[in-house]
Amino acid sequence: MDMTLFSNLALGFGVALTPINLMYCLVGVILGTLIGVLPGIGPVATIAMLLPVTFSLSPITALIMLAGIYYGAQYGGSTSAILVNLPGESSSVVTCLDGYQMARQGRAGVALATAAIGSFFAGCVATLIVAMFAPPLAEIALKFGPSEYFSLMVLGLVAAVVLAHGSVIKAVAMVILGLLLGLVGTDVNSGVLRFAFGISELADGIGFVTVAMGLFGTAEIITNLEMKDEREVFTNKVTNMFPTKEDWKRMWKPILRGTFLGSALGILPGGGALLASFGAYTLEKKVSKYGHEFGKGAIEGVAAPEAANNAGAQTSFIPLLTLGIPSNAVMALMIGAMMIQGIAPGPQVMTEKPQLFWGMIASMWVGNLMLVILNLPMIGMWIKLLTVPYRILFPSILVFMAIGVYSLSNNPFDVLLMMLFGLLGYIFVKLECEPAPLLLGFILGPLMEENLRRAMLLSRGDPIVFFTKPISAGFLIASILLLVILLLPNIRKKREEAFVEE
């Protein structure tokens, strides 16, 4: 660690600690926790909903709030996983396994405290990791030409396929559908209006907020309404929050391992909180001497994945901040937020807008501190929220989504489009086609076409250029290897098992 790291962080804290940024950071983490606690609404839909609201904020304030929603949701997700055995967030699926068992044994308070402590520690370390690794990566990225960018995006999209459930072929097809939908609107190169069918609202393309809210918000409401609303809440059983000495002894190593594994998995394209928590749980089950207790209320089974998902949530900002490439659906929305604010995401952000870059990193630490301080005393309130029936929640969610989408351009067409994407999303769920890869493709579609065009123009139409430039070739080979590995019968079986375990 050199001195520039500290001066950079100091600059960041200077930005993050201004009253307005502190306030929006607080708003972000509380909102994040709220939607994390509530099953049936996730950070993707929430961030999409709030994007129009951020028009009026300064770029840094907007990004601080949106980031807070993402990592706040990881905190909240674990609360409902432990108390009701329902993962509020997909990344807290594994926390259900042992957290809920702990709650049934009357140790809900300890489980919640463990999750909070693990998350806070991981958040602190991950903030440092982002601060250390982002600058050198951005420096490399500055040397990227169009062919490198194109290949990197291919790798990112292939990685998104790895994380999708079910059939690999379907996931690839979803990515491509996303790329194609991203091309709707005016082609920047020729000025030709593509796939707009005379609808003037489509000239600027389909808004990604509309797509995200439809696929993740509306579709989820319809899916949830199919199921019966049954929950068993351990409301009055949260008494003792403090872990015993034995608990501390058992949790610190898993937290440490979870933090580092989570940080590493978060950086990978396609990674993030979800992959991190699964990876950490599996690892812990293997290395822990209490492995036989897993699934029966082992504290390690809460500590490791909770640390990992928070670490992963934060390090997944690295590819976004340095390369301008989103690694998951939430990051795709963050890119959208930056573009709304007139910031082109990419390695130049760090040098041209150091306040924005370092302010956001510092805010993550501040936000984590807020979460750990707020969350423990606020747990009573979150529990109350969990008893709110879904029949009250879904009309409210729908109202906020409709207002958010309508306000994008004060046009009912966007509401109609959101509804159509909701129907499409529902069909996707029914046909077991995951929408997350589609959203990534959707964001990357125009960028990919642009870089492909430029690369081909520079190479005079010779596609070999993608393999003669070493970095580009590396990305492409990695992508091909990933796909081949995925299609190997053996791995395929393992992957299916891994997803079934959910």
């Binding site: 609201v53 009026s56 059939s167 072929i169 379907k170 690839v172 097809a173 491509i176 559908l177 790329l179 194609l180 091309l183 082609d187 190169n189 020729s190 030709v192 593509r194 796939f195 509306t218 409401i221 319809i222 309404l225 199919e226 019966k228 609303d229 879904y390 029949r391 009250i392 879904f394 009309p395 409210s396 729908l398 109202v399 906020f400 409709a402 207002i403 309508y406 306000s407 004060n410 009912p412 509401v415 109609l416 959101m418 509804m419 909701g422 129907l423 529902y426 069909i427 029914k430 046909l431 077991e432 086609c433 990919m448 076409e449 492909l452 065009r453 081909m456 123009l457 005079r460 139409g461």
Partner: protein, 150 residues
């Protein structure tokens, strides 16, 4: 030929459909060459790949046994969609408040049980909150009441 995995069959058909659709529509634009790609180039290539992938899924669904076609629940689909359309297209003529009333009530019909009293209270709470936060706080330019009254 018998469909062994209806779920995949329809998924495959959907991808083939989308792929062909994009390829056909792209024919209206210039193809260009690999050096100077026209607006049709990238979508045509992508549409082609997607159609092929869809074809593979389709083929597999005829060979490998899989899940049956899922049950669709039309009740929530209908009420949620209707609620959104009503809100979107009636906001300007009827104003924000009446559009909200319509949306909350219609969407609530899509749930498992409809309790009129509960929905009424929810509507009032949501109206007060939304007007304060979105119209007063964030100054979204929504008319509150019907145009013919104002």
């Amino acid at each position: 030929m018998k469909i062994k995995s209806p779920k995949d069959f329809w998924a495959g058909l959907m991808f083939v459909g989308f792929g062909v659709f994009f390829m056909v529509v792209a024919r209206n634009y210039q193809m260009g060459s690999a050096v100077r790609m026209g607006p049709a180039y990238f979508p045509t290539v992508l549409g082609g790949i997607m159609a092929v992938l869809g074809g593979i899924v389709l083929f597999q669904s005829l060979v490998v046994k899989g899940a049956p076609f899922p049950k669709l629940s039309f009740k929530p689909i209908f009420y949620i969609s209707l609620a959104l359309i009503l809100f979107g297209y009636l906001l300007k003529p009827l104003g924000f408040i009446l559009a909200l009333v319509l949306m909350v009530f219609v969407s609530a019909f899509g749930g498992h049980e409809f309790k009129a009293k509960e929905v009424s209270i929810l509507t009032v709470v949501l109206i007060i909150f939304s007007v304060l936060v979105f119209v007063k706080g964030l100054t979204l330019p929504f008319p509150l009441w019907p145009a013919f009254l104002g």
